[in-house]
Symmetry: C2
Subunit: 696 residues, 2 copies
């Protein structure tokens, strides 16, 4: 995919310039000087030769077929340049030029026009407003970056061009090499999804690094990411970008959702490792690029200093890793060979006077221990420490072992040489043990993702047609908000159990309804205009007889008319009174980037105040629904705390999957809550007491 971008045989530079410091010059120079084997055709009407390369006055003058055109002319001339590409039959263009969407209304119009042109002629375009791209395999540097990265196994693509320049510069000192390096610019055509697909089967790429501010198509992004992360790790830094903004939401789910939760859910579901900071992005990049994956979570710490050993052990404690317990053999051999003062248990303290040979002995013994999956070597530069020699030994062991080795040499001036040795030979070093542990943990998490079974889809037999025709009627009537009874009917059609309930327009209808259902009953105001009924006393429970029904009917409807004179009052809803069970809430809010964002949480007041909820993007599978439930902090309450019986978690899983199916079947549902969903003890199922729903 996108072959003409990464390994074109011929490249034209439209807007190549003689003038040093100009983008059209720097770019041509980058193309020419880094060993690219294809043919380069500068296009410039005013000259015959730039940097010793024959220059053409126009694209059409070039005798050869052109695989890739790089356009660096000012924004107003980009359209014309693309027209010439079309004439010439070029299918791949990179538009470096700025002056599009990012620059205001005129630029945005220009960008739309450009996009239409591209689409009409089935071309692909990278940019506009980008730094360009680099492919070290084909030695193609079609960018105006100041550095050419070393070849390596990391593919990086970024929504920020400036960050690209920082990362290239950083990579030089860190011995980090890249396979592909792509600045996406405005992502008008080629976006993150195209690039993920292009990199998925690229054998030169072992790790994918991404800087994102948003995604263009959430569902496609998740699908593409799910596929690639089964093959290679993908590490993403996602920064704000999307204005949080005050979104008008009428449901709990709508209020609690938001772009950040959607991204977190999407990343979880697709096995993406989210780096919280740029530093973490680099830290993870280094370990994944340099080392192999650990087989398990058991880490051995080897240190020449107690304090840093404790610090590292603390960090392990807080992580998903586990301190390895050495085998008896390992302990015996360490004890018989190390000085008496040395600690032979994990963390192994080789003592401050340890020279390289002692480190070597211990690392070799420990890494052979079957209970050890990964080794972290900590070194502080003490008087007797052989810093470089120890580094040499570590790299030598790292080369021949099947387990990952990571180091934390702590210091400044005196350890500089040792760091160079290790980075050249692909042993990742971290200046502080906490960062080393965090990077190792990221690797371990990724192995868990790789082993994770694919989510089992579950499709229920539901009354989809009935819901479809109801929504049709709603739309014809120009209505957006379903009333409570309507919302309940919709979820009932998808298999949710709901309490018996009857709408009563008059007092005597209410009495009749109550008698049919059986006392005690609940009485609620019924109006499409009143969403939060209990806020103004529109819900009464435990109504025990006819007199109470009559009184209640009057009070509730009068109060509603008084407080909300414009509301359309349909009467009251008389409902079976259900008691017992724990309240949970299920909901969905449609995220602008990712679509249906499902929410689960413990109901009642705690959801609003403790915000103890979990999110996933629909459609989800069985294990994802289970994870949603297990993820909330108050999960132990559902499992049964202090001798209580556990609730019927299986039915909650079933209900979440039904909700997932409903909101996937009907993209017109933009927001909904099932609140409360009562969950009874194991085997007792659930009952949806109340629901609200808004359609577009």
């Amino acid at each position: 995919m996108l072959e003409h971008f990464f390994s074109p045989k011929t490249v034209a530079v439209v807007g190549a310039s003689r003038e040093e410091g100009k983008v059209g010059h720097d770019l041509l120079k980058n193309l020419a000087k880094h060993g690219y084997k294809g043919k380069i055709y500068p296009v410039n009407p005013h000259t015959e030769n730039i940097l010793g390369i024959k220059t053409y006055t126009a694209l059409k003058e070039i005798p050869d077929k052109i695989d890739l055109a790089v356009i660096v002319v000012p924004a107003p001339y980009v359209g014309k340049a693309v027209d010439e590409c079309i004439e010439k039959g070029i299918d791949s263009v990179i538009v470096i030029s700025a002056g599009f969407k990012e620059s205001g209304i005129d630029g945005a119009a220009r960008e739309r026009e450009l996009y239409q042109k591209i689409k009409q002629h089935s071309m692909r375009m990278l940019g506009p407003n980008c730094l360009g791209l680099i492919d070290t395999q084909s030695a193609l540097n079609a960018s105006f970056a100041a550095d050419m990265p070393a070849p390596g196994n990391i593919a990086f693509f970024s929504q920020s061009g400036a960050l690209c320049t920082s990362i290239l510069d950083w990579a030089v000192n860190e011995c980090i090499g890249f396979s592909k390096f792509i600045s996406m610019g405005n992502k008008t055509d080629i976006d993150e999804v195209d690039l993920i697909k292009a990199i998925e089967n690229d054998d030169n790429t072992k790790v994918v690094l991404v800087y994102l501010e948003g995604v263009k198509n959430g569902a496609e992004f998740i699908n593409a990411a799910k596929k690639i992360t089964k093959i290679k790790p993908m590490i993403v830094v996602k920064s704000g970008g999307t204005t949080a903004g005050a979104k008008a939401a009428s449901s709990h789910t709508g209020t609690l959702a938001g772009a950040e939760n959607a991204f977190d859910a999407a990343f979880k579901q697709s096995g993406i490792l989210r780096a919280e900071t740029i530093q973490e992005l680099f830290d993870y990049a280094r370990i994944f690029s340099f080392q192999q994956l650990p087989k398990g979570p058991h880490i051995a710490l080897i240190t020449n200093a107690g304090g840093p050993g404790i610090i590292a052990a603390d960090a392990v404690e807080r992580s998903k890793l586990k301190m390895a317990s050495f085998s008896k053999d390992t302990i015996n051999i360490l004890r018989s060979s190390l000085p008496a003062m040395a600690n032979v248990y994990n963390p192994v303290d080789v003592l401050g006077d340890a020279k390289a040979d002692r480190y070597k002995f211990v690392i070799e013994k420990v890494i052979e221990d079957p209970n050890v999956d990964v080794v972290l070597v900590i070194l502080t530069p003490q008087t007797m420490t052989e810093i470089e020699k120890t580094a040499e030994i570590i790299t030598e062991i790292s080369n021949r072992t099947g387990k990952p080795i990571v180091t934390s040499f702590m210091g400044g001036k005196r350890i500089e040489n040792s760091l160079k040795i290790m980075c050249q030979r692909k042993v990742p070093n971290y200046p502080f043990p906490e960062r080393a542990v965090s990077a190792i943990e990221a690797m371990y998490k990724y192995t868990l993702w790789q082993k994770r079974p694919a989510p089992k889809a579950k499709i229920f037999d539901v009354q989809k047609e009935q819901v479809a025709s109801f929504f049709e009627k709603m739309k014809q009537a120009g209505r957006q908000h379903l009333n409570e009874e309507e919302a309940r009917q919709v979820i009932s059609a998808y298999g949710f159990r709901i309490p018996k309930s009857i709408l009563a327009a008059t007092e005597s209808e209410a009495v009749k309804a109550a008698e049919e259902i059986g006392y005690p009953v609940v009485i609620k105001i019924s109006s499409p205009d009143i969403l939060h009924k209990s806020d103004f006393g529109g819900v009464r429970v435990g109504i025990k007889n006819e007199t109470e029904v009559r009184n209640c009917f009057c009070e509730i409807t009068q109060k509603a008319r008084r407080l909300m004179p414009d509301a359309d009052i349909k009467g009251v809803l008389v409902q079976q009174m259900v008691t017992g069970g724990k309240e949970v809430i299920l909901g969905m809010s449609r995220d602008p980037q990712f679509g249906p964002l499902l929410m689960f949480g413990l109901g009642g007041i705690y959801i609003e105040i403790l915000k103890d909820v979990s999110f996933r993007i629909a459609p989800i599978g069985l294990n994802e629904a289970e994870e949603m439930i297990q993820e909330i902090r108050s999960f132990p309450l559902l499992k049964g705390a202090r001798g209580e019986r556990p609730v019927d978690i299986n039915t909650v899983v079933d209900n979440i999957l039904r909700l997932s199916q409903l909101v996937t079947d009907f993209p017109e549902i933009i927001e909904m809550d099932i609140n409360p969903l009562l969950v009874f003890p194991e085997g007792g199922g659930t009952m949806a007491l109340d629901a609200r729903m808004t359609i577009s």
Copy 2:
């Protein structure tokens, strides 16, 4: 304080050695070669001269008075060396030698002996098992560290000697200088408290950095830290060290407490900035050492790249800092002078082609804005960027402004020179904007601490004597656990409101008691051996008449005898039934290092599962009690959520302070819970329904 350690006029080195590489040699060399102006007296029976310094065969041969003796002989000879110090009238010694507590039972005995000797002769001792100390003011390097730090304004002391060597090495590259640099070793005599006191009024020290694994005396530590942090910031990394261990706890508080919570509470109460990692310790050290404090939280971001600007703004969003809103004047002048594409609002985007002059113009205008308290300048090395020149300009502005400036130059090779320029001229740079924001936030938090009023103490008029004599009786009877009624009486004596209750040994006594109290009542099993009554059904509520009392008495006592045949059953407690109110829990657990650790949380099942609790170390003042309440996540529930009335928070504050007074008055209370404490709506006070208490 400790003058003889930091600026001795004469220093003797007992165990000075001719042999290079030996500690006794390296230490003497360090003393001799760094410009120390005092007199140095090596002691070595076998030679006359080391490094050109006249050597004495014994301390007593030295003609001069000795201010400080540094002992580097092997552990078994240290005692004798100290004896000779005593003879010579030396009052200050540093014991470098290892082989004490850290090396096993023999070493521990040796250390105890050493300590007794020191105490008997009113001497002070640093170590044993330490690296020594450095004072750059007096140019004293009485350590065997490989580096001599540059003079500077940071005092550092550490419980890990190895970490000292790493930090000294790191400091060289980072232009970080130290006033004092102290390795505490085993802290047998001089500990963190002594050093805090010694540094408090040291004019050469602006910032205090500490690495701790534990403290020797928690209360003294808090007091000393409270004093010093009002004058200068103190940043501490605290690592595990203390074995978490499974502590047998019979109260909720005991279960939820633990060393980490005690440390967190102590640090909060004493204004210590806790660094979570060594990297954070360094990050904070750099900004506090180099820059002045900001006057407020308003940060301006100036960047030549959109992406990093967003990353920084995200980090500000997550912190206690606020994005500054520029004045109209600033916006106008920026708009009229910057290119049209530049963003003149915060974060200011000076664009990728910004040279040094544009940075200069913007920084100068922004820093003059009265709405700006601190400026973060972000730079990515783009083609046109004048990296060093921009660095020069920033340092120049930093020198003449009254507001702190921090930078985040992002890159590697190309920014190396600029980093040197900035670190030499005391502008703190962070490789990633997130770390810069976090360091600025630490400064801002410290300004809040400095402005915070001293906690108001409040002493209540209580019946202390009564509790004292009751505890006396308990001790005489050899009892540890108070029964429910006893615990309630104790807290009642300290002003807690408790429900009426009467102990009934027989069925008819129970009936009589219920009638006296008035129906409905609560009946509970009464036994000193049964702590968690409700776990086995030992509590019945809503008992409405005589028959119910009789039935209940039989059932409860029989069940208790059956399930816990060895328990001493006193009968039942008949209690006034109180309803309404919110359940909270107050408790105390005595921490081995810090003493009485108070706990507050919302009661019921949520405390155990959500662990939503706050801690402070008693005694505390008014605002500290208030902070405890406001700190829990579920605080909004107490303030009144969704139209509920707020609870009587003032009385909860009062109760926490009474608890603080109680556990301060009686150190024999080792653990207690008041659970539940019912809190009624505002003005309604509280009632302690149940309490348990263990004394030593």
